[in-house]
Symmetry: C2
Subunit: 66 residues, 2 copies
Amino acid sequence: MKNKIKIERAIHDLTQADLAEKIGVSRQTINAMEKNKYVPSTVLALKISRLFKKPVEEIFFLDQDD
Amino acid sequence: MKNKIKIERAIHDLTQADLAEKIGVSRQTINAMEKNKYVPSTVLALKISRLFKKPVEEIFFLDQDD
DNA sequence: ACTTAATGTAAAGTTTATTTTACTTTTTGT
DNA sequence: ACAAAAAGTAAAATAAACTTTACATTAAGT
């Protein structure tokens, strides 16, 4: 899976730490998500897409491995 | 988090086992998801919503605990 | 160039998702 | 009523998410 969190963060001018705090996870979790180190839970995907006011599918994408 | 997997399954006339096979998880995982025993990964949410041709947000919902 | 903020990374630990096996209960069809 | 299919459940095991701490690297501002 891939995602556009970094881009959305730039659009909204948020640091990783800002975003982490807003959705209630650690900064490293945001960093690891952006770097595709692991797949976030659906709760996180919903929170992030709600914050960025975009559908989940516009931020998170399945790829070949999935 | 809550979800409408059971309803979507009924609409598409799929058993838990059918759905499990289609998205590549065990039947118990589907059952547990329907029973809100745990939160699925975003990959599963995307696969399920793709299969049911509906946005993730129409199948999975944040609630108070989230 | 210097300082600070932001990002990247990593290891160890905890929690939670998911699997496997297996059994019970409920639903459905005849 | 009976048989078969589907759903519910549970325990043990494994994999993966997420946290915490801590440090290194990069970017940005003065």
